[in-house]
Amino acid sequence: MTSVTPRVLTLIAELTYRCPLRCVYCSNPTQTSQTAEPLATRDWLRVIEEAEQLGALQVHFTGGEPLLFSDLEQLVQSARRLDLYTNLITSGVPLSRNRLESLQKAGLDHVQLSFQALSDSATYRITGTNKLEQKLQVARWLNELELPFTINIVLHRENIDELSGMLELAESLQPHRIEVANAQYLGWALVNRDRLLPSFEQLARARELAVAARERLMGKTDVLFVLPDYYAGRPRSCMQGWAQSYLLITPDGLVLPCHAARDLPGLEFDDVRLAPLAQIWAESPALGRFRGSEWQPEPCRSCVERSRDGGGCRCQAFALSGDASAPDPTCSLSPSHHLVRTARQQAERPVSTPLQLRRAPQARPMH
């Protein structure tokens, strides 16, 4: 553990696990039953205030679908009063123009709107429903209201061949940013990996399209492209380090370092209702477990690149090798990298395994 407690920069508020879409790549946990009652609005207001005191500059309202949280406006208003940059990460469902206007009045800075696919068939396969028309409507409202937004496209084998058309559509909606982010293979994306991981060739083509869009739109719309770890050779600096600058609160109040960590065995994450956030951030044994570099095994420990990626993603290490403290297997220097190579080889041959639509983690049974 490091002796100096790092500064929180971003609060990720997962307001609910409920969602009208059932995306096959969802980053929500696949197994967990929720252990406690959902946080109440007053708890969220306290969390936002205490995160700001710890240094947070940004808050992401996400889920599930954060629009299903009825007091969202109140949370936005409170965050904005503390001068936090407020970002809504949403499917755009369910949303009316009126509600969008009241969110804007509450001080919402930015909306990140997800697009899954263009064709009806792909959209159904990926989300279990088709809300494309609603999403286009939301994008038009955002433009009318001059509310800055990002179009977020999560890329995988089921939509990668539609990317050209999706970029064209996204461009026509005049967003502030277009983010083409490959699925990372955790949560539901890992469950469905055999169907979702693209081939090397598909990925290379997608990257060319994104780079071309980036050149074409420079100075108008920022275009980002994020590789899947499986093809990157080196791991991402996941969350910029375990419990370093990101702090995530689950719908039932757990304080986590990232979206997936609650499924790691042997770690007891704290309920934010039971102690001040500052105390949990500084003293939680679970947050301390992989903070800094003391925990790192070889070859990470003596690697010249260790400060760049911090050993990669703990959840990915656990999901693939069964050991959360192992080097991230997506790193070509990891002893378990053959697992990733095998997955890539399989991605060269299309498979017909059925896709599993996401199910929300079960709510705690009522007493």
């Binding site: 500064r7 920069l9 971003t10 240094g55 500059l57 940004q58 992401h60 001068d83 940059y85 970002n87 800075d109 930015h110 990140q112 001059e146 800055p148 990002t150 502030h176 940013r177 420079m218 100075g219 108008k220 719309t221 920022d222």
Partner: protein
């Protein structure tokens, strides 16, 4: 992407400047980003309101500099143009149409 001295830079709607209590510096916030500005960058960004031309910003900052800083007009102009170009490329700053 040519930036001209007669253009009037203005921060993008998605970008917001705020003072940071922990570092006592200004931070330029945008979606998922925060850019910690040093004092001279802050002086430039505070003037990107769509009212002043880049030339006017350069002249103001040059006149406000002290002899001890030893800055030439050319250096100030280069620094301002570099910063404004970088922010424009990242879509954080636009130019008012004259």
């Amino acid at each position: 992407m040519n930036v001209r001295l007669d253009q009037r830079p203005r921060l993008a709607r998605a970008a917001r400047l705020r003072l940071d209590a922990q570092t006592h510096s200004y931070i330029l916030l945008s979606p998922e980003r925060g850019l910690l500005l040093n004092d001279s960058a802050t002086e430039v960004v505070l003037r990107c309101t769509g009212e002043l031309t880049i030339q006017e910003i350069v002249d103001t900052l040059f006149q406000a500099s002290t002899p001890e800083q030893g800055l030439s007009h050319t250096t100030v102009q280069e620094d301002v143009l570099n910063l404004i170009t970088a922010l424009h490329r990242r879509n954080l700053l636009f130019f008012e149409v004259p």
